[in-house]
């Protein structure tokens, strides 16, 4: 396994991920038969519904027990098993290149974990960074493609200063299928995140937002008179950090988080706030599991 692989996924974590499974709250119509339930009624062993017999239907579908009772001909309908499309979208903007470990690194780890879980279940997995580099992201199926996924993730560099909306819009145009979309981002987009999320919802995707923030962003260890420079657009903010301002900042952060949470919950988006100082294996095996992202 390449060195990058062990940085993102340790052998121990890989072993634990193999026992997990991605959870989708909706039934999707996939292109191939997988291990997923699909709303399309087809030929499978799982009974779904009855309908009246019309000329030309398959006689083998007729429920003869029901005919015996009701003296009418009815056909049994069965759920067709379909595979899941899993998309992990990584915000690779410059703001994600912050912290130790960086938010981007943690995002890659999360994406790798979730992607591997999907690969183990023969889901169709695509892990992509928002922006132009996302175009090169491979679509993978099966555990054997783990290395391709990791290789791609290793190639993702920060500085893709594309707004969330543009990135998501580009993804949506290139990927017509629906499925599970996990957006791993810090949501620190001055243009806002709402349009991006709405776009994902409009694709009838099962959207998960992992709001990734570094501890230094939640509780900044700053003091004094500072000129803050935005890493993405070079915007300046002159502040005099004191106790009062820090308290205000924390309130602003909390309000921001609450607003995002509220927006997501109203739109059936699963919102998860994660800190980069939380170990990834714990984040996946416990935190995401508790919130129903994996099982």
């Amino acid at each position: 396994m390449p060195a990058a692989a062990t940085e993102l996924l340790s052998p121990d974590l890989i072993a634990r991920l193999e026992r997990l499974e991605l959870v989708s709250r909706q039934m999707f119509r996939g292109r191939m038969k997988g291990e997923r339930r699909s709303s399309r009624k087809g030929q499978s062993v799982e009974f779904a519904d009855f309908r009246n017999y019309v000329a030309g239907d398959d006689l083998r579908q007729i429920d003869w027990n029901l005919y015996a009772r009701l003296d009418q001909l009815f056909l049994k309908l069965f759920l067709e098993e379909e595979d899941l499309h899993f998309y992990a979208l990584i915000d690779a903007s410059e703001s994600m290149n912050f912290g130790d470990p960086t938010k981007l690194h943690v995002a890659k780890q999360l994406a790798a974990c979730l992607g591997y879980v999907g690969l183990c279940r023969a889901d169709r997995v695509k892990v992509a960074a928002l922006g132009p580099t996302g175009n090169n992201a491979p679509v993978m199926r099966g555990k054997s493609n783990l290395w391709r996924m990791l290789q791609y993730l290793d190639s993702v560099q920060p500085g893709q200063n594309v707004s969330l909306y543009e990135g998501v819009k580009d993804f949506a145009l290139r990927n017509s299928g629906s499925g599970i979309a996990v957006l791993i981002t810090d949501l620190l987009d001055k243009a806002g995140y709402e349009q991006a999320l709405r776009m994902l919802i409009s694709r009838r995707m099962d959207v998960y937002v992992v709001h990734l923030l570094a501890p230094e962003e939640l509780e900044p260890p700053l003091q004094g008179d500072l000129r803050l420079v935005d890493s993405e657009d070079g915007d300046l903010a002159e502040v005099t950090i004191n106790r009062v301002l820090l308290e205000r900042y924390k309130k602003t952060v909390n309000a921001f988080v609450d607003t995002a949470k509220s927006f997501c919950s109203r739109r059936s988006i699963t919102y998860l706030l994660a800190r980069t100082d939380m170990p990834v294996d714990e984040m996946v095996t416990r935190y995401l599991r508790e919130r129903g992202v994996v099982r």
Partner: protein, 737 residues
Amino acid sequence: MSYLPALQSWQWAVLGLVPIGIILLYFLKLRRQPLTVPSTFLWSRTIEDLHVNSLLQRLRRSLLLLLQLLVVGLAALALLRPGWPSIDQQDERLVMLLDTSASMRATDAGDDKSRFEAARRLIRDRIDRMDDSDVAMLIAFNDRAEVLQSFTADRNRLRESLDRAQQSDRPTNLGDALKAAAGLANPNRTSEAGNARDYQVADALPAELLIYSDGGFPNVTDFDLGNLKATYIPVGTEDAANVAIVAFSAQRNPESPEEVEAFARIINTGKQPQTLNATLLMDGEFQDAIEVALPPGEEAGAPFKLRNANAAELQLTLDVKDARGKALIPDELEIDDVAYTAIVPLRTVSVLLVSTGNRPIELALNTAEAGKVCLLETVPPSYLESDQYKERASTGMDDLIIYDRSAPAQMPLSNTVFIGSLPPTDWKQGELTSPVLLIDIDRTHPVMRFLEVYALQIVEGRPLVPPAGSVDLLTADSGPMMSLAPREGYQDLVIGFEILSDSDGGAVFNSDWPVQRSWPVFVLNILRHLGGAVETSSAETFRPGETVTMRVDNRLSTVQLKRPSGQVETLQVQPGGNVVISGTDQVGLYSLSKEKVALGVFSVNLFDPQESQLERAAVRQIGPVEQFDTEYLVTETQAGMTVAAAMLDLDAGTEPQITAWLNKGVVRKNGSAAQANTKVRTGDRLKVIDEARENAILRAEDGASDVATRGEAWRWLLLVAIGFLGAEWLLYTRRLL
């Protein structure tokens, strides 16, 4: 409101830059540290909220600026020292005089160890009774005054200064202490605009003078107390008993030098007759004892005969206590019960006479008296060219060199006498005059003591033009004829006329002085004063505290001094062989030596009947008589004198004071106004009335006196400034945290 700026103009200019600097700093853009953050998204939102309160922020910054400017402003105002006329209730200004003389050692002070301790206790009590508005000063006095503490309201400082006061063995002189008290009670004051240490011009302030003493000082009549109200607080008892040695000396019998006679004078100052023993020790060993009977108030002599050919130290002790320390007779003062003297080796002086032959001088130098102290060597003037002379002149081997009608090329390291010749430097002479008529003689000078020379006949002489600093001892109509001039520690006596003059027929008299009685006396005076001869065998005695000058061989550079305590120290010998010894407060024998060779000895004894007179005076007189309301009775001594002369004789005051009183018309004779030239008779009563002073005394007793002072606000301004500084600090730290 008035101001007393504490700063100079340029300092005010510097202070003025401070608020300008503060304001400028506030308007300068803050230097901020740049810091890259992931996004300013949330920070911008945070600051936006604050912008709503920007007014408060601006106000908060302005508040800091305001507080800082206020602090600077208040400090500047404090430095201007604004003030206003005010009145201070000042109850008392005390000047306390503490007697530290020898008589204060007397032990008749009840529970206190001595009169001195009793006086200290009384002063301590007085200090304890002081109010916060009272001020006091403390002066210790004996024969000189020492200001222990100047005016202060701090009672602790007064107590500390009282503890520092020390008993001495000196006699008493109140005059210096009174002058110090009067001067410090009302120091001169000046007023100078812009002077931070300015004091306003003020009149002399009244003060109460408290004299804690046993009264062992003479009446002080030549001192005007002015605004000082004197109160005498006596210590000791009125009937203290004391016996004292007031004189003690020893002399060799000139006929038999190995026989020594010691003589002491002992007084009984008490009211009871006393009989006691006086014991004489020589070099610490018992020699003799004598019983002395002393009626009250009387004195008696105590003679002793000893045999001693050498120098010896003598100590006379009055046996007032037995060996166990039990008192044999009542005696309250111990210090005058012991006296010291010494038999000294005679100090002879070596005299070199340079002359072609001068019989009168040689005869005078060889009299019995002169012969006792003088080792004479006569040489001709040609000797001055010899190496021997040059060596003895450059080393100061001789105590005195007399140049008779001769002069050396260089002055020697000795005192000199020039007769009819001049020293080679600094001296000049006028034209020869004949005859020389003497018109003035300085009788006060030791060289001219006991001389009667007005009838002196001098044929011819040259008036002298001596160098600066000289003293003219004989002055003739043509100018000074005998002068004494100092020369780097030595002295040169120059006589402008010859005693013997050279002529074709031989030496002839130029003056009849040699046949006058004053001639050998003059020569002896020269030996004593210029030669340093000591013809007495008894050591000189001095009072405690006196500075003593002893004469030793002028070739010595240092000598060792041994004090009565046994302490030995090295002293420098000054040019001329003089050794100055100070710090002679301790009674006893002081000896000078060099490498164990005795050079001289002197004793320090109290020998003060006034100090030994322990009877505490009930009334002392300071200043003009009327302070104590004394009336003077004219006795036969003053009968026939004028009022002024009689008052002076009666010690009523100084001559200028008496004249002033008579001019003011405040002198009363038998109750009526007296004139200056009015004669007095036996039995007349003289009195001086001073209404102004009597009124002044009444005023001083009225109680608290208002004193004009200056109220100042700088302390309060400074306090408020510190308060604002604290508030500014508080606000700033809250802003930071």
